[in-house]
Symmetry: C2
Subunit: 245 residues, 2 copies
DNA sequence: TGACATAGTGTCTTATTGACACTATCTTAG
DNA sequence: CTAAGATAGTGTCAATAAGACACTATGTCA
């Protein structure tokens, strides 16, 4: 290195291919609700490495088309599900020398929440098969590629933790829903029942929902429909939800 | 690409230098407490790009010596402060095409909490100057390189948020401390005072501290000294701490 | 028109926090 | 030796919010 190089000179002579740097990718756990269970999307890899194995959707940053990391994640999600405005949250970044046979590798994991009625599965070039699997069944039924089992675990744990003190589950429902449906959603993720009155107080007092004016009719008293107010999709409650004592 | 390549063949022919991939680095906000203020460590860059500008300590993953991403962060911290077992938490990963003049770049940010008495500043090759700055003064006093201002902001916000529902601040104190000192620490980060009895109940009921048996003497009633129990350094309280009404 | 099913509420009990005055125990000055 | 000053630490009650659960409300359907 010369002694008095300007930044311009430095950048002119800089060539990223001269360095040994890690691979960087994005992986996603896309969650939805179906049959009273949280499901996650898995893809069968159509490319080396780990060809033919099940994995979380993901891939490399396309530095020519992606402007930001989040765009990479959005793109992957859109490719697989057609959904383009989900709840998307970055979970963690895992990097080490052994997780990918190609060498030192870093992956940024995200989870997405989408409503079960609002997507259509897409089949794209990079995967020949796509399935929704109940999260609780993944480890017993599938052997995921790389460290995707752990990444999925992290994402699911983040979700389950945040159910205790945020309004995240609203993102798993269609735009309009009843309080009972929302309560059921919380209960599924929490894995335990919650008391009706407390639940309603909690949600209504938080002022994150608004009535749509219409109702959901069944063979009983019609339930008011609600939608989420603009900033309600990620409200933080001042205390954790608790199950029955 | 051949049609029926084995994974072995694929890996043999794989050369990372054939691809356009982003740069990946680690940046850290190292926090400590001093003069009743949270301080963060800044370094003056001794290398291009942004030579001579102040920045958060950080750098590239050394794929030959670092085994994991966290090790990269640990190594950076050790180089600057000599501390090697701090509280370390990954905050976020930022990646886009414009944050670094060398091209598409991804950085994983961490924050570390260290006790003010437990480190010695080191000067190493990659930086000629190092300073501790009160976090609240950074934006008015320094112009940080790259997007480090935003990264610092994220880290500090994470810390301030977590003070409300975790025991994190214990990591800013020496191994032994009094409850009053701990309360003061919470108050500094929260930016408001908390009620003594409530605070003590909260901490003691959580069962994360143990008495050391000795006391801190002053010109008044001696205060019991406590240390943190093994898993107390990151306890989650079931509800947020609240200020006075 | 009455049974049923689910939506939604009234209200009491219980748990936890906030407020704040009080007691405890040290040092230091005289 | 004692009283003043200072900070540590506690007792206790009021205020707040959640849990429990019975109750009412409003629709469908036979």
């Amino acid at each position: 290195m010369s002694e008095q190089q300007t930044e311009q000179e430095f950048l002119a002579s800089y060539n990223i291919h001269d360095y040994d740097i890690p691979l960087t990718s994005v992986d996603m756990a896309i969650f939805t609700l179906h049959d009273e269970q949280v499901h996650v999307l898995l893809v069968k890899r159509a490319q080396h490495p780990a060809l033919g194995q099940w994995a979380l959707p993901g891939g490399f940053i396309d530095i020519s088309s992606d402007k930001t990391l989040e765009q990479t994640a959005q793109r992957k999600l859109k490719e697989k599900t057609g959904v383009d405005t989900p709840y998307l949250e970055q979970v963690a970044t895992t990097g080490n020398h052994h997780r990918d046979p190609r060498g030192w590798s870093v992956t940024v994991s995200y989870f997405a929440l989408i409503a079960h009625n609002e997507f259509q599965l897409q089949k794209d070039a990079s995967s020949d098969q796509v399935v929704w699997v109940p999260v609780d069944d993944v480890s017993s039924t599938y052997t995921l590629a790389f460290d995707h089992q752990e990444i999925l675990q992290q994402c699911y744990e983040r979700l389950r933790n945040k159910v205790q003190y945020t309004s995240l589950p609203v993102n798993l429902l269609p735009q309009e829903f009843t309080l009972t449906e929302l309560q059921k959603t919380f209960e599924i993720i929490l894995g335990k029942s919650v008391e009706k009155k407390s639940f309603r107080r909690r949600l209504l007092d938080a002022d994150i929902l608004e009535e749509t004016g219409s109702t959901r009719k069944g063979s009983n008293r019609p339930a008011k429909l609600y939608r989420v107010k603009p900033e309600g999709e990620s409200h933080f409650f001042p205390r954790n939800i608790e199950g029955p004592r």
